[in-house]
Structure formats: structure tokens, C-alpha cells
């Protein structure tokens, strides 16, 4: 039996960042990861967006806090090249319906204090001359950007490990343990792990674990796909997305382009227990890319992959304390956009656990927000 101050369930970027900031604050932390690899879920499969625009106002303050305070010096902090670029995000539209979606998102973000504005096709192509004429409208947020999810996740892991955080992989948690009304740890096939606080950061796998202590988290598990090209000459530094959130990506420091996209069939894709790709999705993503960037038609695709996202019922994370279960902290339901917000989540949860206070109000993300519509 191992005893720590805090036990983190899930070795993705949320778990690793939380463990890192906790250890930095002096806590004794153990991280249990079910897979053989650190960061094996969405953390190593996402498009690398470090983005505020396009987000729900309830999570905007948290991601804005991270982009202001944490991302700019994260590479130095973690002694790893996070490849962070703050060169703006273009959220693209092709028609009136898209314009309306983008306008709504922009209005709501401006209300929270974000510097984001609507621009027309010509201005889009001044920012990114490679975009095709199909793009007629976009939202432009100059403080958005992108980073390398692989090195950032493993950077948090490496730095947390160096601070003494005990990581154990291939260690699936069977259940959260509750004694006399208080969370006291977890059980695994290898035995019990005890801690004063348990952070549940296991993506969709958080749902059955929380259910074990009587908390239902309305989340789904959905398989989405992305791909990467061979290295190309440098073209642009912005992060890209679309009004319908069906296409996103950027050019990496390495020169390759990482693009995610949708076939439209995602909710109905099947799998064999592994995050397998569908034969239909990559061709569809390629057609999507070529409509936006005809110049990339000859770029070679070197890899395609799939990963599960954990969409919550209202599309924003489930974060913070659970009053019915003292000692339990939730950090899940990131709905496919957990990467950019992860440093802020880790930082704020560490503060919440060690001081009981946070800089950003997490109340709008509390799990108790879910209600029936009538």
C-alpha cells in the first residue's frame, strides 16, 4: 500500500500538469495511468490548439488565465520545447450560416473580454495567403496559438517525475475508495493506494469510477481522427479551425501539418476496443484540407490516427470539488479541447487542493450544473 497526499487517476496532460503543480507546491503525489504509456489518450492525439476563441464563456476565463500566465514561459518551466506559437487563430467560414455561428461565438467571447473579431475573406488571406477563395469570413483571435501536445505532455511528466511524483503506468484503477463518508484512495489489481485527495482525470474512464461513489457525469466516448503530413517548407504559423468545428490544424515546428477532421459519421463509428481509424475519415479530411489549401495537394500523408474524446453534455469540462465526496476532485469532460486549457487546469487544481482557493472561479464548471431541460 502506498500513501500520498494526492492521488491522480490518469496520466494524460491534465493529470501530469496537476501532479507537476502539486509537487511544485510541496505535495506528495502519485499518478496512476491505466495504459502502458504516459499521455496515451487525447494528450498525444490532439491537434495542438492553444485557443481561446470558439470556446464557451464558462471556460474562457480559465483558458485565458493559462495563455496569459503559463503558456508563454512553459518551455523554460518544463525544460522541453513545447513549440508554443502565439500567432493567432483563424476560425473559418464559407457561407452565411458559418458567419452566424462565428458572429455568435465572437460576441460571447468579446463579452468576457477576449480580443477576437470578425474579418472578411480578403483580410483572412492577408493573414494567411495560402487559404483558398472558398473562405469568405472568419473570426480572428491574435492571442491564440498552438503547441506540441506530445512534448508538452511528456514535459509535464518529466518535470513532475523529477520533482518526485511517483508515476505508475499499466495500473488501471478499479474503484475509488470511500470510508466513513470521505474519499481515502483507490483500489487497483495490485492493491490499494491511499491519499487525502483523489483527482479524477481519466477522460471518459472517469465516468464509471465517479459512478462508483454515486456521481454520474454525463459524458460520452467518441472516436475522432487526425493525420500528419511529411515536413513541408514553412507556410504559416496560425492555428486554424472552422465554424462547424469539423476541421482544424496547424503547421508544426518540424514542418509537418497536423490536421484533424470529421467524416460526419463519428458518433456511429465502431471500434474493436482500440482507437482504430475508419477507412472513410482520412480521405475526407484530405478533401477538406485541399479545399482550404490547394497548395497542399501533393504533400504526403505519413500517419493517420484516432483518439477518443469525452464530450460532456454541454461541451465544457467538469472541474472541481464534489461536496458529496470530500477529497474527490473532478477533471474530465474536456470534450476534445483539453490540451490548451491543461496548464491552467493543473495550476488551478493544485491551488485548490493545497490552499482551498483558486484565481479563476471554477463554479461554472462544477459537476452539479447538469439539469434536465424542462
Amino acid at each position: 500500500m502506498e500513501r500520498s497526499d494526492v492521488l491522480v487517476v490518469g496520466g494524460g496532460i491534465i493529470g501530469c500538469a496537476t501532479a507537476y503543480y502539486l509537487a511544485k507546491a510541496g505535495a506528495k503525489v502519485t499518478v496512476l495511468e491505466a495504459s502502458e504509456n504516459i499521455g496515451d489518450g487525447g494528450s498525444s492525439r490532439n491537434g495542438g490548439g492553444v485557443r481561446q476563441s470558439g470556446r464557451d464563456p464558462r471556460e474562457l476565463p480559465l483558458v485565458m488565465y493559462g495563455i496569459k500566465n503559463l503558456w508563454p514561459h512553459l518551455s523554460e518551466e518544463l525544460s522541453v520545447d513545447c513549440e508554443y506559437h502565439q500567432d493567432g487563430n483563424l476560425r473559418l467560414g464559407k457561407n452565411e450560416k458559418h458567419r452566424q455561428i462565428l458572429q455568435g461565438l465572437t460576441d460571447r467571447a468579446v463579452a468576457v473580454g477576449l480580443d477576437v473579431r470578425m474579418i472578411d475573406g480578403d483580410e483572412v488571406r492577408k493573414i494567411n495567403p495560402y487559404l483558398s477563395d472558398e473562405v469568405t469570413v472568419a473570426s480572428w483571435c491574435p492571442t491564440d496559438g498552438h503547441a506540441n501536445p506530445l512534448t508538452t505532455t511528456l514535459g509535464y511528466y518529466k518535470s513532475a517525475r523529477a520533482l518526485g511524483v511517483h508515476f505508475i503506468t499499466a495500473e488501471p484503477v478499479n474503484a475509488i475508495k470511500k470510508v466513513r463518508g470521505k474519499i481515502v484512495g483507490v483500489t487497483t489489481p495490485d492493491g490499494d493506494f491511499e491519499a487525502d485527495t483523489v483527482v479524477l482525470a481519466a477522460g471518459y474512464a472517469s465516468r464509471p469510477l465517479a459512478a462508483g461513489v454515486g456521481i454520474d457525469l454525463p459524458m460520452q466516448k467518441r472516436l475522432i481522427e487526425a493525420l500528419v503530413t511529411e515536413a513541408q517548407p514553412h507556410m504559416f504559423d496560425q492555428m486554424l479551425g472552422t465554424a462547424e468545428a469539423d476541421f482544424y490544424g496547424h503547421q508544426t515546428k518540424h514542418g509537418s501539418f497536423v490536421f484533424g477532421g470529421s467524416s460526419g459519421l463519428e458518433p456511429f463509428n465502431t471500434d474493436d476496443g482500440r482507437p482504430v481509424t475508419s477507412s472513410l475519415t482520412a480521405p475526407c479530411i484530405c478533401r477538406g484540407i485541399m479545399k482550404y489549401f490547394p497548395d497542399l495537394a501533393d504533400a504526403k500523408i505519413v500517419r493517420t490516427w484516432a483518439g477518443w474524446i469525452d464530450p460532456s453534455a454541454d461541451g465544457v469540462p467538469i472541474l472541481g470539488t464534489v461536496e458529496e465526496n470530500p477529497g474527490l476532485i473532478l477533471a474530465c469532460g474536456f470534450t476534445g479541447h483539453g490540451f490548451g486549457i491543461a496548464p491552467a487546469v493543473g495550476d488551478q487544481l493544485a491551488k485548490l487542493i493545497t490552499t482551498g482557493k483558486t484565481d479563476v472561479d471554477l463554479t461554472p464548471l462544477h459537476y452539479s450544473r447538469f439539469h434536465a431541460k424542462i
Binding site: 465502431t270 471500434d271 474493436d272 482500440r274 482504430v276 481509424t277 475508419s278 477507412s279 472513410l280 480521405p283
Partner: protein
């Protein structure tokens, strides 16, 4: 999405894939074979040497001709072979996505056979990324498919059959092979393959490996050094060679990625060469409907790949109901027997890593052959193929138990006896009389049979050797005879050159040497002009 549909999709038109396709099509399945290369046949079309084995294994036929035979059979059975077809992935529900031309196709099969073969391993040493360092298989492709010499002076690393066979082919292509090097203490491949390289004068350095490749923008030299039993370099044993090419033949790895992508249970099995699917003896993987054959399920060679292909083709035919269970069992029994025949002898998979000190006949094996590449003049006398008698007679310098017997059938006079046990060493039948036809010489895939007349009357002897080099010396050409070690033993003159369709490009060169050298002269080199 509309799909093309077949009973069976085969990935890889090599010996395993084609054999499976032929077998399945002969039972009535609709079969398509995809191969990413412009030519079918896998590695067969660069195998210019004669294959070992027995008749059932297509022994003594050159690899590329076996490829031609398989293609003709596939065509006859209605198998569709699609070339320049790159399989992109093996998706759920037995779906392949294949690139053909400038588009992709979705193709579904009720069964899928993966026969993608293997790729070459690499070793690292300082300078290993310099141009001029290449896989032995790559060198073979350059020479035998594209007619390009990989270099002028070559060092070969690796003494398995690939390293030995390619070294000989490099010599045939007119390259100089400066050394054959292996970190292991003994030669890994067939002794007969080593012997034909050694008698051309190539030195073997066992317990040696490459310390560094030299050169700025391409290989200009190489330094090798001896290693101890822990494969650590021994100071002061360095040897330098000026070379422009370093060939690396250090094994193959199964190209099993498609199976892994599909979710087949895999294992890391060093005996099979790396990541392989877990499968039964007839190629059934853990996923129903997905089968494997050939090197992708474990590194062996083309002859066993062809049998494995037929086994998988049979199993698939039964799986899809084109063959009843009883017929399948009968067919499988024969194939099991054929495969077992190939997997015997000193080099059998079961004997890997074992130290063998004597032959099945109880004869101490040649230690020189294992370390220097040739049987010494003293050692050779103890083997049953080597006898002395009046008049012309065959001398079979076959000293290891390998599954191979074409020589026995080649001799119409029944001078050569192997018996039913295919790995037995060939022995001379004292009751038969050799007529010097030379069929045995040409039939031996190891080029280990010679015709010797120890005394032709004027103090000379005549030795007939297999010869596969161009230009062919003419009758009357003077030169020197080389011994098994590749060293000069005496002056020699070519007194006969025989070429026949039945010899299949193996020429028979008869040289006259002083009679005291009859037992030592084993290769001819023309005098420098």
C-alpha cells in the same frame, strides 16, 4: 461507400502470396493479389541462384524461373494480380484500402491473406548512414533487377545465406569482395554457399565486425576489428580495407504492420525475426478470416514460403466452404510433410543456436568450413561423397546435412546415393560407373560437385567444375587453379567447356592440372593478360 468484393484478397505477390492465390483459385475462389512493386514475384526475381530441396520444393530451379512458373500458374487459374498497388491499411471487417494509380479503392474480402514478407535489418556503426552502406538485399536488387553494379570494392557484413549468396552474386557481377565479416564465431549460412565464395579468394573474418565506415560524403574505406565473446572490440585487431560499398546482411524483420493495424494478436519472437502474428501451423491468425504465410509470420526462405502459401490457400478454401474438411485434411497432410522435409537437418529451425559437432552419419563436421568458409584438404577426405578411383568420377563436397537431393536424381547411372532421408550426405555408389555426363555438377545448387579424373595419362588430372562467370574461358585458356581456400595451387589449362540447356546456365569447365593436385584444384582463374 461501394467496395470491390472478392472471396480472397492477398497482399504480396511473392512466393507465399502467389502460392496461396493459386491454391485458393484452384478451389474456385475469386482471388485478387495486390503488390506494391512494378514486378510480381517478391524477392524471387532477384534470386538468380538455384534453389535447394527436392523436386516438390522445385529444387535446382533458379529463383526467378520459379517466379515465372508461379505467375503462369496464377494466370492460368484466373488469379487477378494487380501491380503498383500499394495497400494503405487493413481496416475493420476485412477491408483493404489500396492505392492504384492516382486514386484509392476500398476492397473487401471474405478472407484476407497477408504475405508481405520481410525487410532488411540494419546495424549501426560510425559512418553507417554514409552513401555506400546498403542492405545486401538492396545490392541484389540493383544487380539482378536493374543491372547496376552496387560498387567496385565491397565488404560484406553477415555470413548467413543472404550474405553468402549476395557475395557470390557480387563476384558474378564483377565486383571485388574484399572480405566477408561476421561478429558471430561461426558462419551462419550453408557451408556450400560459403565454400563457393571462399574458393574465389574471398577471405572470411569471423568474430569480427565493423568498427567504422570511412569517408566524407560516401564510403571510401572500412575498418573492422575482432570482438570477444561479449561482442566487445579487442584492441589492436583492427584491419582496414579500401572499399566503396559496405553491404549489410544481418537478418530480416517481418513486415507485419498490416496485421498489427488490424488488431491481430502479435508477439515479439526473436526466433521468427521480430514482431509476428500469433498463428497456427496453417496461417490462421487470431482474427477469423485473416491469414498469413511466408516471412511475415516468421523469417524462413522462399521454398517454405511457397508451402506455407499453399497451406494458407487450402485453409482459406475450407474456411469459405469451397473445400470440405476431409479434403482439406488430406491436402494439409501432404503439405505438412513437404514443409517438415524442408525443416530438417543442421539448419532446421529447431537446431538454431545449437552447437553441432558431427553429421547425422557421425562424421566430425569441418571446423574450417565454419570459420574460414572452406573445408580443408585434410578434412574433406572423411566425407562420403569424396572417394578416389580410376577414371572419371563425381566428388561431392557436401559436408553438412541439409534438405537437398537433386544430385541423386540427376545421375542416370545411379552413382550418387542419398536415400529417402533427404538430409543425408550424398555418397558415391561403388557399384555404378560414372560416364562424366556432368548432370550432377550442374544440378547441385551448392556448386559442390566436381568430376575428377585423377590420372589422364600424361601426369595430369582433369577436374570439371561448375562455372557461372562471364566471359566464359575458351578451351585452351591458361591460368591457375585455386584451391578450396581460394589460394593458388598450380597452373591449369581449360581443356573443355560444356554448356547445355539442361545445365541451366551452369557451365562445366574442365581444367587439366598436374595429377598431384587432382584433390585440391577447385576453381579456375585465367592468367592476367
Amino acid at each position: 461507400m461501394k467496395c470491390n468484393r472478392y472471396d480472397l484478397l492477398v497482399v504480396g505477390a511473392g512466393p507465399a502470396g502467389l502460392s496461396a492465390a493459386i491454391e485458393a483459385a484452384s478451389h474456385g475462389l475469386s482471388v485478387v493479389v495486390f503488390d506494391e512493386n512494378a514486378r510480381p514475384g517478391g524477392q524471387l526475381f532477384k534470386q538468380i541462384h538455384k534453389f535447394f530441396g527436392s523436386k516438390e520444393h522445385r529444387a535446382k530451379i533458379r529463383g526467378f524461373r520459379i517466379g515465372q512458373q508461379l505467375l503462369a500458374e496464377a494466370d492460368e487459374k484466373g488469379v487477378q494480380v494487380v501491380l503498383n498497388a500499394t495497400v494503405i491499411g487493413l481496416y475493420q471487417d476485412r477491408e483493404l484500402v489500396v492505392r492504384i494509380g492516382d486514386a484509392i479503392h476500398h476492397v473487401k474480402g471474405d478472407a484476407i491473406l497477408i504475405a508481405t514478407g520481410a525487410s532488411e535489418n540494419m546495424v549501426t556503426f560510425p559512418g553507417w548512414t554514409l552513401p555506400g552502406v546498403m542492405g545486401a538485399g538492396a545490392a541484389q536488387t540493383m544487380m539482378n533487377l536493374y543491372g547496376v553494379k552496387p560498387g567496385k570494392k565491397v565488404l560484406m557484413l553477415g555470413s548467413g545465406n543472404v550474405g553468402l549468396v549476395v557475395s557470390f552474386q557480387l563476384l558474378q557481377a564483377g565486383c571485388e569482395v574484399v572480405a566477408l565479416v561476421d561478429a558471430a564465431p561461426k558462419i551462419g549460412g550453408y557451408g556450400v554457399h560459403a565454400a563457393k565464395v571462399a574458393r574465389c579468394g574471398v577471405p572470411f573474418f569471423l568474430s569480427h565486425t565493423i568498427k567504422k565506415a570511412e569517408g566524407d560524403d560516401h564510403v571510401t574505406g572500412v575498418t573492422i576489428a575482432q570482438v570477444d565473446e561479449h561482442f566487445q572490440f579487442i584492441e589492436g585487431t583492427e584491419k582496414h580495407f579500401d572499399v566503396d560499398t559496405i553491404c549489410v546482411a544481418v537478418g530480416l524483420s517481418p513486415m507485419s504492420q498490416l496485421l498489427k493495424m488490424a488488431g491481430c494478436e502479435m508477439e515479439d519472437n526473436p526466433k521468427r525475426g521480430g514482431q509476428v502474428p500469433i498463428c497456427d501451423d496453417h496461417g490462421r491468425t487470431s482474427i477469423p478470416g485473416i491469414f498469413v504465410a511466408g516471412d511475415v509470420s516468421g523469417i524462413e526462405e522462399a521454398s517454405s514460403a511457397m508451402i506455407e502459401g499453399r497451406m494458407a490457400g487450402t485453409a482459406i478454401s475450407e474456411y469459405l466452404g469451397y473445400l470440405d474438411h476431409e479434403a482439406e485434411e488430406t491436402e494439409m497432410d501432404t503439405l505438412d510433410h513437404d514443409l517438415a522435409g524442408l525443416r530438417q537437418g543442421m539448419f532446421a529451425p529447431a537446431n538454431r543456436g545449437k552447437k553441432i559437432t558431427e553429421t547425422e552419419e557421425g562424421i566430425p563436421i569441418s571446423t574450417n568450413l565454419l570459420t574460414k568458409g572452406f573445408v580443408s584438404d585434410e578434412e574433406i577426405e572423411r566425407f562420403p561423397g569424396v572417394t578416389h578411383s580410376k577414371g572419371i568420377h563425381p566428388v561431392m563436397e557436401c559436408t553438412q546435412n541439409i534438405p537437398c537431393n537433386p544430385c541423386q536424381d540427376a545421375c542416370m547411372q545411379h552413382c550418387i546415393k542419398i536415400g529417402d532421408h533427404i538430409t543425408a550426405l550424398p555418397a558415391v555408389n561403388p557399384d555404378s560407373t560414372c560416364i562424366g555426363c556432368g548432370m550432377c555438377v550442374a544440378s547441385c545448387p551448392g556448386q559442390a560437385i566436381f568430376l575428377v579424373n585423377e590420372d589422364v595419362g600424361d601426369g595430369s588430372a582433369e577436374v570439371t567444375i561448375p562455372y557461372e562467370f562471364l566471359p566464359l574461358p575458351e578451351k585452351g585458356t591458361k591460368g591457375i587453379a585455386l584451391g578450396r581456400s581460394g589460394q593458388k595451387v598450380c597452373e591449369a589449362e581449360v581443356v573443355g567447356v560444356r554448356t547445355a540447356k539442361a545445365f541451366d546456365e551452369t557451365h562445366l569447365l574442365t581444367m587439366r592440372v598436374p595429377k598431384e593436385y587432382a584433390g585440391r584444384a577447385r576453381f579456375f582463374r585465367r592468367a592476367e593478360v
